[in-house]
Amino acid sequence: MRAILQYFSLLATTLLLATTAAAQPQTLRVGPEEDYPSIAAALSAADSGDVVEIHAGTYYEHGLVVDKPLYIRGIGYPVLDAQEQGEILTIIAHDVTVEGLQLQNVGVSYLKDHAGIRVRQRSRAVIRNNRLVNTFFGIYLERVHEAVIENNELSGVLRDEASSGNGIHAWHCEKLDIRDNWVTGHRDGIYFEFVDNSKIVGNESVGNQRYGLHFMFSNHDEYHHNRFADNGAGVAVMFSKFINMWENTFEHNWGRAAYGLLLKEIYDTRIEDNHFIQNTIGINIEGSTRIVYQRNEFRRNGWAIKMAGGCLDNDITANNFRSNTLDLVVNSNVNNNTFTGNYWSEYNGYDLDRDGTGDVPYRPVKLFSYILDQTPEAIVLLRSFFVSLMNFSEKVSPVFTPADVLDHQPSMQPLSL
Amino acid sequence: MIEFKNIEKAFGKNEVLQGIDLRFTQTGRISAVLGPNGSGKTTLIKSLLGMVLPDEGSIEVNGQPIRREWAYRNQIDYLPQIARFPENLRVAELLRMIKDIRGGASRDEELIERFGLQPFLDKRLGTLSGGTKQKVNLTLALMYDSPIVILDEPTSGLDPVAMIQLKELIRQEKAHGKMVLITTHIMSFVEEMADEIVFLLDGKIYFRGSVAEIKTQHQAEGLEEAIAGILKGQLATANRSVAPKSALQSIMSHLQTA
């Protein structure tokens, strides 16, 4: 028994020694005046754990495959130009770090989702401080665990939706940390499908064709301190559970079918301390249940909140609704959503007992928004005198608008958020 | 020359002029158009000015039909019956404005002097008394030296001094060879001034002739009496034929005013 144990410990020690000897990292330098003139040569010469240092210059290479754990580092932002020929860097090994590169001109393909950097089925990739310019897809993560995507700049070239790829595209991943990236000019800035237990923090996704963030079938994720602005349709979060979103800014998502945030079939989620500013629709909610909206700022949106199709048990508390054209549209007659302690700039009740909340409940649904919901064509009468008169008379004596959509404790002063 | 040919005019059911044929050919002559209230005097004059459009018939001035024309009004000085002016204009502004719009030579200064309007030139028209307004009205009407002069109730509101000046002015116009048409209710004025009388009754010409003729025809001492005679006769016929109440009333009221 002891012999066997000794044998095994010996075996273990030799194995350990062997690995440490092999892991003695070497640095392979790539550059016009270095050992390796091309990146491909360096990649194939490198052993696991080596550092590949790419010096400044332009490398017309593509189809580079990283099949062992490497630390690929750019010095002075070397440019990897695929000349519209295809994917640049494909990572099919664990523990690869890519840093300080500029990858450009991947080229549009209608058959394959070519990317600047692709990570396939491996764990612990770190991709940071890179610049991706005119890459069809930027960073493409496919069945990846524990990747860190940090501080990259991704700028696509705006084309039509079919010939644009996504900035950061993640599919079937887990434990991603997407942080401080800047994404613009793609179809979707950040795309999540079947991605769980991940974080999206401090990113800025602006001026993308469709969504700043597109988020589907992904549970237990959080995103906060991001800014989503001027995207074609805003941010879409769909078919997901247990998502927490806080301190994000959704602004200027302004277009005929645009919104700050689209929630569709979302359950058990908290949306807190976000800013929704100048969006056609602040939050467009379809069939979402048990969602808490707290301390959000809704300012100058067309509709602050539009709820459709069975939204139950939503709790809308202590938000600011300022200068929105319409504060709320609710299209279902069954309503058990609660509105409490919000500030509504349209509220003109009084506060006799001076407790800071109005003594008369506020009805956030105007008659016009009720009619619009029934007859969307009525929007041609937007801002007509008749509509103002109608809203006023409905406010004085409500007949049509849902009687149970009420804020019983409207705040008299804007809440400081 | 002025010629009315078969003029008919109705305001709704009220037939004001029922076939008027009338010619004024002689210049240097004053014709008085008389008749009870509602007999169509003012309508007749307004149709001459194109302000009222006759339903039937035509009017010619100097041989030209006036319908839809406007330049012929250069030939006419017109004094409207009731002096109504834009209230917040000053007298001088009003005169200047009409002169500006119409252009050409005017003798407004002479008339202002004649009627003693100098102190009122800076007053707003709304603040003037009836008599002063009538003086302004006269000045406006007569300041253009036109061959035809039409005065609708020129005497209303005038004080005796102004009345004398008016008469003098009219005589002067006559002497200048103008054709003068006057409507009035003041019979002494007519007797004194008019060369001929056109008497309108119920929208028709009842009588036309000189003052002397009307007096002899009705065996009356004065014009007033003659007119009263005509109206009484009319009243009698009206009674026989059971005249409508309004005709009776109009005659009665005329008797009172005259």
Partner: protein, 260 residues
């Protein structure tokens, strides 16, 4: 006509009303700009006011002016002047002096604010020109009401009814038919109904210039498309021209046949 126009304008500019109107716009647009500082928002608030007020003031003031200037009119009728010259002159005098009040009242604050160098310049011009157009249309209609009605009270009544109809009732009926016939495609109807009411047409033309048009969704897109085509723009301008021209033409006709 220029002389009549000159004196009508002169007469109107002396009346207290023109100044009140001017002062209102000065204070209102100046105040809004000062308080909000956001041109786009101010343009929207002003749009609401202009769409209600310009037609209202033009009709009421138009009828009032017509009746008040009857003496002047009668005085002019005896002068050697064409009838249509008199009425067109007075109408233009009215419409121009109201428009001048509007343009100055809104223009001064905006120009002082630097609108001429900002991106909102065109929105501002759309707003102003629609206000002016509405003023012309509704003062023409008011003049027509005056001409057709000797009775002042009746005239004022009709003027109020006219304004109420175009500013309120029309939209009410419009909305009602949209609701009643919502099963049917309504774009064509909406377009027609909008184009036929000068107030609605102005509102849509202004709204489509502003970024608020995004709120109008599909229907807005239909309008944008319609107004974007030469045909659509031509039709809208034609309707506005008709709305301006028709009263003017009818004024001339009515004036020709009227006894004074």
């Amino acid at each position: 006509m220029l002389k009549i126009l000159k004196y009508s304008t002169y007469d109107l500019l002396r009346s207290r009303w023109a100044y009140l109107y001017l002062a209102f716009f000065l204070l209102f647009s100046g105040g809004l700009l000062y308080l909000s500082g956001d041109v786009s928002k101010v343009v929207i608030s002003l749009m609401n006011v202009i769409l209600i007020l310009c037609p209202l003031i033009a009709t009421m003031f138009g009828v009032m002016y017509y009746y008040n200037s009857r003496e002047f009119t009668e005085l002019l009728l005896a002068q050697p002047i064409r009838r249509r010259t008199i009425f067109w002159g007075q109408y233009l005098g009215l419409a121009i002096s109201l428009s001048v009040s509007l343009v100055i009242g809104i223009g001064i604050p905006f120009v002082a604010y630097g609108i001429l160098h900002g991106p909102e310049t065109w929105n501002f011009f759309t707003l102003i020109s629609n206000g002016v157009l509405l003023t012309f249309i509704f003062s023409g209609l008011a003049f027509l009401i005056g001409l057709k009605n000797e009775n002042k009270i009746r005239g004022f009544g009709l003027a109020i009814v006219l304004w109420l109809f175009f500013a309120v009732v029309y939209d009410g009926l419009f909305l009602l038919s949209l609701i009643l016939f919502k099963e049917y495609p309504l774009e064509g109807f909406s377009l027609a109904a909008t184009v036929l009411n000068p107030i609605d047409l102005s509102r849509i033309m202004i709204l489509l210039k502003l970024d608020i048009s995004a709120l109008m969704g599909y229907t807005g897109a239909v309008f944008q498309k319609f107004l974007g085509t030469a045909l659509g723009m031509g039709l809208s301008l034609l309707t506005l021209a008709l709305w301006t021209g028709l009263p003017v033409w009818t004024i001339q006709r009515a004036a020709k046949q009227k006894d004074f």
